[in-house]
Symmetry: C2
Subunit: 424 residues, 2 copies
C-alpha cells in the first residue's frame, strides 16, 4: 500500500520505518526542514540511543520504499495517511495548530477511499467535532462515504520505542466499522498486541484517561511523600509495604513529571468537559508541577541546617531529560528547577549524559568544590558515582535526591546531609 | 498465653476466636452489655452470614478457653492485650474517645512485661504521641522497660473475614525490636501471610495510606465516570481498555464509598499533618461523598425525560449495606441517598436481603407499580431479577444503576430508560 505519515517525531518516525519494513511505500512528511534534510541524508536527528531505531532506519533507507518530504502531495496517492504531529498545550488548553494544519494540508490532497489515522493524542471529541469537518470541507468528500477516519492513539514512551510499537495493545477508534478489516491487517503487522476496536470518542477518552490515571497516581504518591517528610517516615518503605498486596500500586514519588504525554493529556481530558471540573485531575497537575519547587525547598532546608542560603551556593544538578536513560527533555522538571534557581540567583551547573550541551559538562570537575548535589533524573549513568568519592570532592556535603537514587543511610554514613523526596 | 482482646467487632471478635483456637486463654472485653450477654449465651450478634465464623465461634466456646467480660481485670494477668475498638470520626477529625477509654482502662491493670497491641486503625503518630503517654501515666510503668507497644493495623473487610485474617500479610509496628520474636510467634499462628516489622509511625502511615489510595482511586474513577456521562462514552468500556495493561488499575466507579475504613482513614491521615493539606485526599473524599447525590441526579434526569419530577414518584432502592453480600451498613451510601430523598419528599421503599428491617420488604410487591428502580448495592441476590419480569411489573420503566449491575442494552431492549454511573 501507499502510505503517508505526517509528523516525524518519537512516534511518527518509528512508525514510518516499521511501515516501510512491512513492505509498504511510505512517505514521511514533516514541516521541519532541518529534520527532513537529515532524514534525506540518512541521519537520525534524535533518539540516537534508542535500541534498534538506527539499525532499522538504515534498513528502511536501503529498501528504497521510504522517502521524506516537506510537502503533502503523496497524500493524493495514499491509501492510508497517518497523522502523528505534536499536540501541545497553550496554557492549559489544547494547542491544535499543528494538528489542524496537518489535517487541512492532508484534506487538500485527500482522494476517495483513503483512511486518515490520527495517532496524535487529542482531547475527547476532537475527531468528531473538529477533524471530520476540516477533512470534509477542503476535500469536498464525505466521511464514511468517500473517506474514513480512525483514531489510534500512540502509546510510545522513550526507551525501547520499537519494543513498545511492536508489542503493545492498540485501541482503534473508527468512524465506521467498514474499515476494521484493513486496519486489522495494518496494525497486526505493526504490533503483536491486541487490537481493540471502538468509537473515535472512546479511543480519545481511553488514551487521555490512561495518562491522567498515571498523573493522578504519581501526584498522590507525591502528596503522601510530602506527608511522610512531615511525619518522619520513609515513603519508600511505606510503598514497599503497601504494594506487597498486588491490588495496590502506589506510584513512585519524585522531582516532577515531564515528557510529551503525562503533563499534557490530563489537560486535554479536562478541556473536553464543561459540566465536570475534574478536580482530582487538576489538583494532581498542580502537585506534580510543584515538585521542582519542593526539591528546591529541600535544598534550602538542607543548607539551613548549616546556616547557609541558596544564594552563592555552588549547586550541581544531575539530569536534564524528563526520564532516566533518555535524551527527551520535553517538559522536563529540571527546566522548572533551573528557572527557580535563576530567580534565587543561585550558582549552578547542569550535567546530563544524554542532553546537549550538558553532556559536555565534566562531571568530576563540577562536583569538585560543589556545595550541594541535586539529583533530578535517575540515569543509570550516575550509578558509577560512589558516595565516598563524591564526599571527598565536595566542599559542603549535601545531597538532595529527587529520585530515591542514593541510599540515605549510606549517604549519612559518608557525612552527607541527605534529603530525598518523601525521605528526609 | 493469657490474652485480652478489647473491642469485639468485625475485627476483634474473629481475632478472639482465632487466638482461642490457637490454644491461648482469651478474654474478650466490650463495653456493650447486650453484645457481651449474647456472646455469653453463645450467640453471634452480627456477621452471622460470614463463612466459618459461627462454626469457629462455637468451637472456641466448647474449648472453654474463651470468656467474655464488660470489665478489664483480665488485663492484669494478660501477656498480650489487643485493642480493637472503633476509631470513628467526629466531623473530619479522629474521635479517639473509645480508643483512649480502652487504653486508659487497660493501663490501670497493666502488669510488667505485657505487650499492648493496637489493631485499631489510628491517625499517624497516635501511638507515639497519645497512647504511650496514657499507658505510662496510669500504670506507672515505663515503655520498653516495663511494657511494650505494637501497632498491627487490622486489614479485615466484610465477606470472608476469616480468610483475610488467616492469609493476609501484616505490618507490625513495634516500640522496641525486643518484642519481634513473641509477635512473630503470635501472628505467624494467626496468618500465613508475611509479617513486616517496622516503627509504630510507619505502620500507622502504611495502613491509612493504603485505604487512602483506594479512596483516591475510586474517586478518580468516579470523576472520569461523570466526564464519560458528559462525553457520551461508557466508562466500563474505557476501564476494560485501560486495565488490559497490567500497570493500570482504574478502579470501579459507583454510587459511593462506605464501610468503617475507606471513608474514614483518609481523614485520619489528613489529621496527622499540618504543613501538608493533602489536597487530592480531601478532594477524593468530597467526590466519593457526593456520589449518592449524583445517583439522585441521574434519577431526576431519567424522570425529566418523561416530564416527571422526583416528588410523588414511587422509587425502589435496592441495597442498604455498604458493600455487596454483606450486612455491614456502616457509612452506607444508601443512608445519604435516603436523607436526600426525604428532603425531596420522594416516596421510596428500601430492600436489602441482609439488612434488617429491609430484608422484610417484599421485593416483588414493591417493584410492582414502581416508577424508578435505583440499584445501590450489587448483592448477588439481585441477579435473580430478570429485566423482562421487572419491566412487566413496573409502572414507569426507569433503572438508575449505581453499580453497573444491569446490562444497559438489555435494559433498553426491555423498554427501560437506563442511566448508570458513567454510562448514561
Amino acid at each position: 500500500m501507499n502510505v503517508t505519515v505526517i509528523g516525524l517525531g518519537y512516534a511518527g518516525l518509528p512508525l514510518t520505518v516499521k511501515l516501510c519494513l512491512l513492505g509498504h511505500n511510505v512517505t514521511g512528511v514533516d514541516k521541519d526542514k532541518k529534520k527532513i534534510d537529515k532524514f534525506q541524508n540518512n541521519v537520525l536527528p534524535f533518539a540516537q540511543d534508542e535500541p534498534y531505531l538506527m539499525e532499522l532506519f538504515k534498513k528502511a533507507i536501503l529498501s528504497k520504499r521510504i522517502s521524506f518530504s516537506l510537502k503533502f502531495d503523496s497524500v493524493s496517492t495514499s491509501d492510508l495517511v497517518f497523522i502523528n504531529v505534536d499536540t501541545p498545550l497553550k496554557g492549559n488548553k489544547p494547542d491544535n495548530s499543528s494538528l489542524f494544519s496537518a489535517t487541512q494540508n492532508c484534506s487538500k490532497f485527500l482522494k476517495k477511499g483513503t483512511i486518515v489515522v490520527i495517532e496524535s493524542t487529542v482531547a475527547p471529541k476532537t475527531c468528531d467535532n473538529l477533524l471530520i469537518p476540516i477533512l470534509e470541507k477542503d476535500s469536498n468528500l464525505k466521511i464514511n462515504k468517500d473517506f474514513f477516519l480512525a483514531h489510534v492513539p500512540e502509546r510510545i514512551r522513550p526507551n525501547h520505542i520499537f519494543k513498545q510499537l511492536t508489542k503493545l495493545n492498540r485501541v482503534i477508534g473508527v468512524s465506521s466499522i467498514k474499515i476494521k478489516p484493513i486496519l486489522t491487517k495494518i496494525y497486526s503487522g505493526i504490533t503483536t498486541g491486541d487490537l481493540d476496536f471502538t468509537s473515535l470518542a472512546a479511543a480519545e477518552v481511553a488514551k487521555t484517561v490512561e495518562n491522567t490515571y498515571r498523573d493522578v497516581n504519581i501526584a498522590f504518591a507525591n502528596e503522601v511523600a510530602m506527608a511522610c517528610e512531615e511525619l518522619g517516615v520513609d515513603i519508600w518503605q511505606i510503598r514497599r509495604l503497601i504494594n506487597k498486596i498486588p491490588v495496590y500500586n502506589l506510584h513512585e514519588p519524585g522531582a516532577g513529571v515531564g515528557g510529551h504525554c503525562i503533563p499534557k493529556d490530563p489537560w486535554l481530558l479536562a478541556s473536553s468537559v464543561i459540566k465536570q471540573s475534574l478536580k482530582i485531575t487538576r489538583t494532581a497537575r498542580a502537585i506534580n508541577d510543584s515538585m521542582p519547587k519542593h526539591v528546591l525547598e529541600l535544598a534550602e532546608k538542607s543548607l539551613a541546617i548549616i546556616g547557609r542560603k541558596i544564594k552563592n551556593t555552588n549547586l550541581v544538578i544531575l539530569g536534564y531529560s524528563y526520564i532516566g536513560n533518555s535524551d527527551d527533555s520535553r517538559n522536563s522538571p529540571t527546566k522548572d528547577l533551573v528557572k527557580r534557581l535563576k530567580m534565587k540567583k543561585a550558582i549552578f551547573k547542569i550535567h546530563d549524559p544524554y542532553v546537549s550541551p550538558y553532556d559536555q559538562t565534566n562531571l568530576e570537575r563540577v562536583i569538585t568544590g560543589a556545595d550541594c548535589l541535586i539529583l533530578m533524573v535517575a540515569h543509570d549513568y550516575y550509578k558509577k558515582l560512589k558516595l565516598k568519592d563524591i564526599a571527598s570532592k565536595m566542599n559542603i556535603k549535601i545531597i538532595v535526591d529527587g529520585r530515591n537514587f542514593f541510599d540515605k543511610k549510606q549517604a549519612q554514613k559518608n557525612g552527607f546531609i541527605y534529603k530525598g523526596v518523601g525521605n528526609v
